[in-house]
């Protein structure tokens, strides 16, 4: 009997569902970064606002990369519904603590999917995920480095102004 399941897609139902969840996670991440950008802009942290807006665009790029992959493999990519995005944050430092936590969650999620792909012997998706796992090294490094600025420079006096000034310069060099 013809294998219509395989003719339709190389993705199993489970992996397709996991990838769609990840699409949602990236979209949510993009929305939160945008909301953080708005908060920073309202509170006078212009450089951070620009940096976070750029991050938001990157997360959306990640979402679209996953989205296209699911469709290219014959699956059904689902445009996610995103609600309950926080619009207010406790503090300037709190914004970046949340950003790091978000990146840690994304890494954990990609690790889980990679693990499932390996167990399901879906090496095409496993290979595809390598790009994201590499990307997470940079994302986590930058988020952690930015948080360290709060310790190194300190928030007193013109500290926050200095931190804001230095944020766009934080980058990862392998």
């Amino acid at each position: 009997m013809k294998d219509l399941l395989r003719l339709r897609t190389s993705l199993t139902e489970e992996i397709e569902a996991l990838l769609n969840e990840q699409i949602k996670m990236e979209a949510r991440s993009s929305s939160i970064y945008l909301s953080m950008s708005s908060w920073c802009d309202r509170n006078g942290f212009d450089n951070s606002a620009k940096y976070l807006e750029k991050q938001s665009g990157e997360e959306r790029g990640h979402m679209l990369k996953l989205f296209r992959f699911v469709n290219d493999m014959g699956g059904k990519a689902i445009s996610p519904e995103i609600t309950d995005i926080p619009q207010e944050f406790d503090s300037f430092k709190g914004v970046f603590e949340l950003a790091l936590q978000q990146e840690i969650n994304v890494t954990a999620s990609f690790n889980r999917i990679a693990d499932r792909c390996f167990k399901a012997k879906d090496f095409m998706t496993f290979q595809f995920l390598q790009w994201f796992l590499n990307e997470q090294i940079e994302e986590e490094y930058v988020a952690r480095r930015i948080l360290e600025l709060f310790e190194v420079i300190g928030e007193e006096g013109t500290g926050r102004w200095q931190i804001d000034k230095n944020i766009p310069g934080v980058s990862y060099g392998e």
Binding site: M1, L4, E13, K76
Partner: protein, 118 residues
């Protein structure tokens, strides 16, 4: 699974109340249920199965209002409108879940056979 080369319809799974066939000519699935036939592409068949499985039977049983006695499924990929009583839902769930398991089993068998194909 009996193979019928003439019609290209292969019985995938059958219960007292219906049958799911695979059509090898059109690459789709035909669901025969309650005296009617409906054809579904693979993705739509899986989606239909998901939607039927998502029907909350205990909620139907608990809810005393008259509208809770039936579920109406209007799906964009089929012209048929499914008006299901609780009994129909149970029967359709049984049919679709059985068919899905057989389709997945067929996929696993094919995957195993592929390693000997070349």
């Amino acid at each position: 699974m009996a193979d019928n080369n003439y019609s290209q319809l292969i019985e995938v799974f059958s219960t007292e109340h219906g049958t799911v066939y695979q059509c090898n000519r059109n690459n789709n699935f035909v669901v025969e249920f309650a005296g009617n036939c409906s054809a579904f592409k693979t993705g739509n068949f899986l989606d239909f199965t998901r939607r039927v499985n998502a029907i909350n039977l205990s909620e139907m049983a608990k809810n005393t209002s008259r509208h809770a006695d039936i579920v109406i499924l209007m799906l964009h990929y089929t012209e048929r409108c499914f008006v299901l009583t609780m009994k129909d839902v149970i029967r359709l769930k049984e049919l679709l879940c059985g068919a899905k398991a057989m389709i997945e089993l067929n996929s696993i068998v094919n995957e195993c056979l592929r390693q000997y194909a070349f």
